[in-house]
Assembly symmetry: C2
Homo-oligomer: 421 residues x 2
């Protein structure tokens, strides 16, 4: 790839094992876990998966398993399979993932795909196949939701993806350049990546503790084509970087992560919000879309690109039209600074402020993981088979926090944190 | 690879779908099925798997799925995993295979591995890992045994394997040369491969019908370091190339196949037999081994190489020390003529006469698939979690058929068929 690549790859893998999963001696690890967006680790990412396997065993893993997939075979299906067969799904992939998770084994999702893979295929079929994936992925989302085990989403570059992100470069340079950028964004190029991550996580922890203590009743977003008020339930908890499994093991579920996030009230969202970055969802791309909310429910959805895919996404189930997550990320983040669009939620969500349509995380509400589902829902938690982030942050975004007494405080100004910790 | 490679690859894939599986419109297909020897299709065989997927959809398949594995990760495990963890096994692989099979979907095993991958690893660990695979593979062997669905074993070349088979060639030529040989052996280089296969199968069918009609009570093998009598049960059926699923669908379970085979009597094998080709079993290689049978049971086993692996194999269970298959292949077969050792049962077994230790096929006995297990065993059928073929044929092998009245007839002379059909 380039000089020093193998060494950086091992460090990247080490970060996923030690910072991401915090894998424990004698734990098992499933790589290529399958939930809504993924059906296994792409075989093109084999070199990365091998490095992770090696680092996992070095950390004392008992067994490391992988569920693989091949993008080219996905494409062959769209080219040749019977048109009425797109509800077929390899249901064993989420089932096996859930089996590992329920046993308390660690699971790692290798989320890497080529944005243009299916862009010339029938969007109706693409969204039908995606719906099948979302449906069967629920059993895994349920475990992730409760952090039943340590889990991680990570996105190593593959060729077809680099071709999209670095389309301005000569073909033979793209993959190497993307790896360099990913190593930088993931702090792998720093002298001691593990130490750098510990400092970064400590900083995010201070931000989330400040916000949780404030207990704003709502956030008010003002930006270009955006004027949105998002209610926050009583007892909401801000999270970021440092999480805990139900059994109390600390871990970091995304590498990279730059966000703090909490629970929006599924019934108290009003106004209009416009996406600031493209959204790539199961083979389809949506750009410049606006959603109008009334009492938490999307009543209108328009898009300059991918409106059909957006409509399909909103129709997955009732909960797909309500918010399940609200997240704050300064516009000065390393990803935003790179000036690149990744067409990949893990990177793009860490570039900017965002919200998610669909399922809410139990752990973003006080005692949320322990309470009955009806109570969680009554308190404002959203239920859905879907959880899809989209970006609403930019250098023009201001956010106010509204206190219980109605007072307003600046939270973001021009895309940056507006308070000190 | 070489000029015309892609076209030949598609023809090879077409033979596996049309001649091998005889895949039916609307059938599902699982590629990389997992039984005793395999834990999925190697990711290095991706180009082949893609061609098979394409040909399957062209033949009307409803859904084509793949279970993958990566050899390099197998090796990483042996290098780094805890020494006491080698009973761990991805039990979902045979479970998913059985799920597909029970539903009547077709299953294809992609059996390709690098013979030297684990040759520097602890043979005790290698055989422990193999035993775990054999144990969990039983549920799949049970389905294959009854031909509950159309199934196929096929072995496309991969680099580490070509490195062993063509070690006398420069490294960069080996894989291409191996592909050329495989295309030849599998009749893919003929003008009409499908027609060539139909003729070849018709010829094998005449041989097996002749032998079934004869109902020899035993075969007597005489060759260098071999003097062995193998009893054949009353009602044994010779098979070859053309098989039928329980539902009556014709298929050909191995590509290539040159053999006719039947059921040996598990209690009536006596004498000494010496292997004429190396046997590669789950990472270990055995060469020049001799087995001494008394009343069907191996009472002595020696080997010039891999004696420990041989001992481990025989200790898998009680049935591992008895025969489950006897097969006839003329020494003039294309594989034998190639002069190459493949270190792979699918090719090497089709070079020469062989027998198998372990599980017997129900369908090699009249009504065998329908009768209770105790009856099958009482009639001479062997039960085991294992089924491992080894080669005993050569240009020096003579075989007599012994009729019920004690008369002898020549079946093989100097490694060739000794009767006309």
């Amino acid at each position: 790839m380039f000089n020093g690549f193998e060494e950086l790859l091992e460090k990247y893998a080490e970060v996923t094992i030690k910072i991401g999963l915090n894998l424990q001696p004698n734990q098992r690890l499933l790589i290529g876990s399958s939930s809504t967006r993924e059906g296994g680790a792409p075989i093109e990412a084999a070199q990365f998966v091998r490095a992770v396997t090696r680092q996992a065993y070095k950390a004392g893993a008992r067994y490391v398993d992988t569920i693989w997939k091949d993008e080219q075979i996905d494409r062959i299906r769209f080219e040749y399979a019977p048109r009425d067969s797109f509800d077929e799904y390899p249901t064993w992939k989420p089932a096996v993932t859930a089996e590992y998770g329920k046993r308390g084994d660690a699971i790692m999702s290798v989320y890497a795909s080529s944005p243009e893979l299916l862009s010339d295929q029938d969007p109706e079929l693409v969204s039908r196949a995606a719906r099948a994936g979302v449906q069967y992925g629920q059993q895994v989302l349920g475990l992730i939701d409760k952090s039943a085990m340590n889990w991680l989403v990570v996105s190593p570059p593959i060729q077809g993806w680099a071709d999209k992100v670095f389309s301005d470069l000569p073909a033979e340079e793209r993959l190497a350049e993307m790896w360099k950028l990913v190593f930088k964004i993931c702090r792998v190029d720093q002298p001691d990546p593990i130490e750098a991550w510990r400092n970064h996580i400590a900083n995010l922890v201070k931000r989330k503790e400040y916000l949780t203590a404030k207990q704003y009743t709502a956030l008010h977003y003002i930006g270009p084509n955006t004027d949105l008020e998002i209610g926050l339930p009583e007892g909401h908890i801000w999270h970021g970087a440092a999480m805990n499994t139900l059994a109390g093991l600390p871990f970091t579920a995304n590498i990279p992560t730059e966000e703090v996030f909490t629970l929006p009230h599924s019934q108290r969202v009003n106004g209009v919000v416009t996406s600031t970055r493209p959204l790539f969802f199961s083979g389809g791309l949506m750009e410049d879309f606006s959603l109008t909310f009334e009492d938490g429910y999307v009543v209108k959805a328009t898009a300059k690109r991918g409106e059909k895919i957006l409509a399909g996404l909103l129709d997955v189930d009732e909960g797909a039209r309500r918010l399940g997550e609200v997240a704050l990320v300064p516009n000065s983040s390393p990803i935003s600074q790179s000036g690149r669009l990744f067409y990949n939620t893990l990177y793009d969500e860490n570039a900017s402020c965002h919200v998610a349509l669909g399922n809410a995380y139990r752990f973003t509400l006080e005692n949320g993981a322990q309470m009955p589902e009806e109570e969680f829902v009554a308190r404002g938690g959203n239920k859905s088979a879907l959880h899809v982030d989209f970006m609403i942050g930019s250098g023009q975004l201001d956010i106010d926090g509204i206190l219980a007494n109605g007072d307003r405080e600046p939270v973001f100004r021009q895309g940056e944190w507006a308070f000190d910790v």
